[in-house]
């Protein structure tokens, strides 16, 4: 696939911190509408990759393009979010002293300037969208609770709901199943597959059963670059992948 037809295009991206090579000539292409799972042992560079895409970290070298033409290396977090990339953190991060409803309200796609929010009044369409999202993430009866009172799994879901409220083209989801029960993990996989119907999604995860239930192309990262790519059966048959995961 060429850069022009891709949704996300990373080419030769390198990042180092104090001599530690976090990303090493990483190249990765995500097609529009694709869902991709990214796995790799600790320190493989998964989170750094997300940091580079979302503007938190600037790459030392390499190209990062969104939608074929937008150079992301020149943009900051806020403008990248506005371009249509939503990110869920590894540790669920929601606004604890706001209600569930207000969390979604803040995430909804709407003008983001201080003067626009100062005079903002909620519209009927927004109320409907919030109701829809509350139903989707199964928090309708918790909508008036403070987010601080939610369980770990509910916070994960709320954060996914906030991501959807932004209406992004691409969702970066970092360990959505971490700390969830088996049943919750299953539901989360189903939710993500639902979301992938009309969004592009990149999921970083450790849980292999979770990855398997997604049934998507898998990219294995190791020491900051791509080690293998393909179906989960294909990559887990790769002797180098086995070696990286099991150690020498």
């Amino acid at each position: 696939m060429t850069r022009q037809t891709s949704l996300l295009y990373l080419d030769g991206v390198s990042v180092s911190f104090d001599g530690f090579q976090a990303l090493n000539e990483l190249s990765l292409v995500i097609a529009p509408g694709e869902m991709r799972a990214i796995i790799g042992p600790n320190g493989a560079g998964k989170t750094t990759m997300m940091d580079v895409i979302t503007g938190k970290t600037r790459p030392d070298t390499g190209d990062v393009y969104f939608d074929g033409v937008i150079d992301l290396t020149g943009e900051d977090e806020a403008s990248i979010a506005e371009l249509g990339i939503g990110r869920k953190f590894q540790k669920p991060t929601v606004f604890e002293s706001h209600t569930v409803r207000d969390n979604l309200d803040l995430a909804l796609k709407a003008p983001r300037g201080p003067f626009q929010t100062l005079f903002h009044t909620i519209t009927g369409a927004e109320t409907k969208q919030i109701a829809y999202l509350l139903d989707l993430i199964r928090l309708t009866d918790k909508q008036s609770e403070l987010a601080a009172n939610l369980s770990h799994g509910q916070k994960q879901w709320l954060e996914i709901g906030m991501l959807l409220a932004q209406d992004p083209k691409l969702l970066l989801v970092d360990e959505p199943a971490a700390g969830m029960t088996d049943a919750e993990t299953e539901e989360t996989a189903a939710l993500l597959k639902d979301i992938a119907e009309d969004h592009s999604v990149v999921v970083v995860e450790h849980d292999m059963t979770f990855i398997r239930s997604l049934e998507v192309k898998v990219t294995v990262l190791h020491e900051g670059s791509v080690l293998a790519e393909g179906s989960l059966d294909h990559v887990s048959a790769d002797p180098r992948v086995v070696e990286v995961y099991l150690g020498r």
């Binding site: 977090e77 706001h98 209600t99 803040l106 983001r112 929010t117």
Partner: protein, 388 residues
């Protein structure tokens, strides 16, 4: 747009506060001016001025609470904005003295004559007009805050580092204003005021009017703060306080929000300073002292940060205690203040108002739970948000 913005600010709790404030604004001057001095309910003029001073402190506390309580910016330099507003007002009052000064110079304030200056420095021009001074009361602190905030927030300086820089800012201004060649009266500052808008600053009626003006300013700024904190912008501010990077990744430009609220807050502190100076009759570099800014933070902590009423209550209570304490046991006041801060931090982390509303919410929730039949879904918010 504007009406719904202001309408949001007014609910039962706000109305209660504003009603009480209005009663005080009317009652105190009335009891001072209308009753004969020997009447048991007569409020002496010194008390009117003292309470007027508390109201300006309450406004300063409100401005600190807006940035600290709602946006998590712990400013240890808000007294700088307060003092700058005070100096702008002081300059106007100096120029009103005219030929009544010791040296009788029609243009130059006494301290300039004393320093053998023969022309008025350019930055004193315009301060003979009240409207100009009033404008500067807002613009000077606002502009300084804007420039300071522009650099600090864009470079993402936050937390304790920002607090230290704000402390340095007020200390630098303290040193600068101490210098005679700055042209602000040096060590002695500006004092010996005669009249304001043509009225004698010592007169009982002027004092009562200044008290009322302080109360009105407090009320208006309270409404503005409340409209801000209850708007979507206010929710974004709390979001920044609780999870700054999450807010950024949602597409909000956090630095713009901080800059907005920081600048508004500095202007409110400036108004407070401007009302303070004619009531106490002097402004000197001591107002820039780092301890003053820290004291303002303590008022907010005591009253309850993140609650606007709390800031007001904290400022009034602590200053009332200070007035009493410094008269009764002058050498122990700082110990008492420090002890109060430790006590509040340990036992009332949400301050007086935060603790009261929390307990009230608990009680009403328990009652609610008893009333409620199983299967009912509560339609109201279970806990009143302490941020309101």
């Amino acid at each position: 747009m504007m009406t719904s913005f202001l309408f949001r600010a007014l609910d039962k709790n706000a109305a209660l506060f504003l009603g009480l404030l209005t009663a005080i604004i009317v009652a105190v001057p009335a009891l001072n001016l209308l009753l004969p001095p020997d009447h048991p309910l007569h409020v002496p003029t010194y008390a009117v001025t003292l309470m007027g001073k508390y109201l300006t402190y309450a406004l300063l506390a409100l401005s600190v609470d807006l940035v600290w309580g709602y946006c998590g910016i712990l400013s240890l330099g808000h007294a700088a904005f307060f003092a700058l507003g005070g100096y702008a007002m002081g300059m106007y009052l100096m120029r009103q003295i005219g030929t009544r000064g010791v040296y009788g110079d029609p243009l130059l304030p006494d301290f300039m004559v004393f320093l053998n200056w023969d022309t008025l420095p350019w930055y004193w021009y315009g301060f003979d007009m009240f409207w100009f001074a009033a404008l500067m009361v807002l613009l000077v602190p606002g502009l300084l805050a804007f420039i300071f905030g522009w650099f600090a927030f864009r470079s993402r300086v936050s937390g304790v580092y920002l607090s230290i820089i704000t402390q340095a800012l007020t200390y630098a201004l303290l040193l600068a204003f101490f210098r005679n060649d700055m042209g602000f009266g040096g060590n002695n500052g500006l004092t010996d005021f005669k009249d304001i808008l043509g009225f004698d600053v010592q007169a009982d009626t002027t004092r009562a009017a200044l008290f009322a003006a302080s109360g009105i300013a407090l009320g208006l700024c309270f409404i503005i703060c409340r409209a801000i904190t209850r708007s979507k912008l206010g929710k974004v501010l709390v979001a920044v306080r609780d999870a700054e990077s999450r807010t950024r990744f949602l597409g909000y430009r956090v630095e713009h929000y901080k800059l907005f609220v920081w600048t508004i807050s500095a202007m409110m502190a400036g108004i407070a300073g401007a009302l303070y100076v004619p009531q106490v009759g002097i402004i000197n570099p001591g107002e820039f002292a780092p301890a003053n800014s820290i004291e303002a933070v303590i008022w907010v902590a005591v009253g309850g940060r993140g609650t606007l009423v709390g800031a007001v209550i904290g400022a009034v209570l602590v200053n009332f205690a200070k007035t009493w304490f410094t008269a009764a046991f002058p050498e122990f006041w700082l110990f008492a203040l420090g002890g109060l801060f430790v006590f509040v931090t340990l036992f009332l982390p949400k301050g007086i108002v935060g603790t009261v509303t929390d307990n009230w919410a608990k009680v009403s929730r328990r009652k609610h739970a008893v009333d409620e039949r199983p299967g009912d879904t509560p339609s109201t918010r279970p806990a009143p948000n302490p941020a309101e």
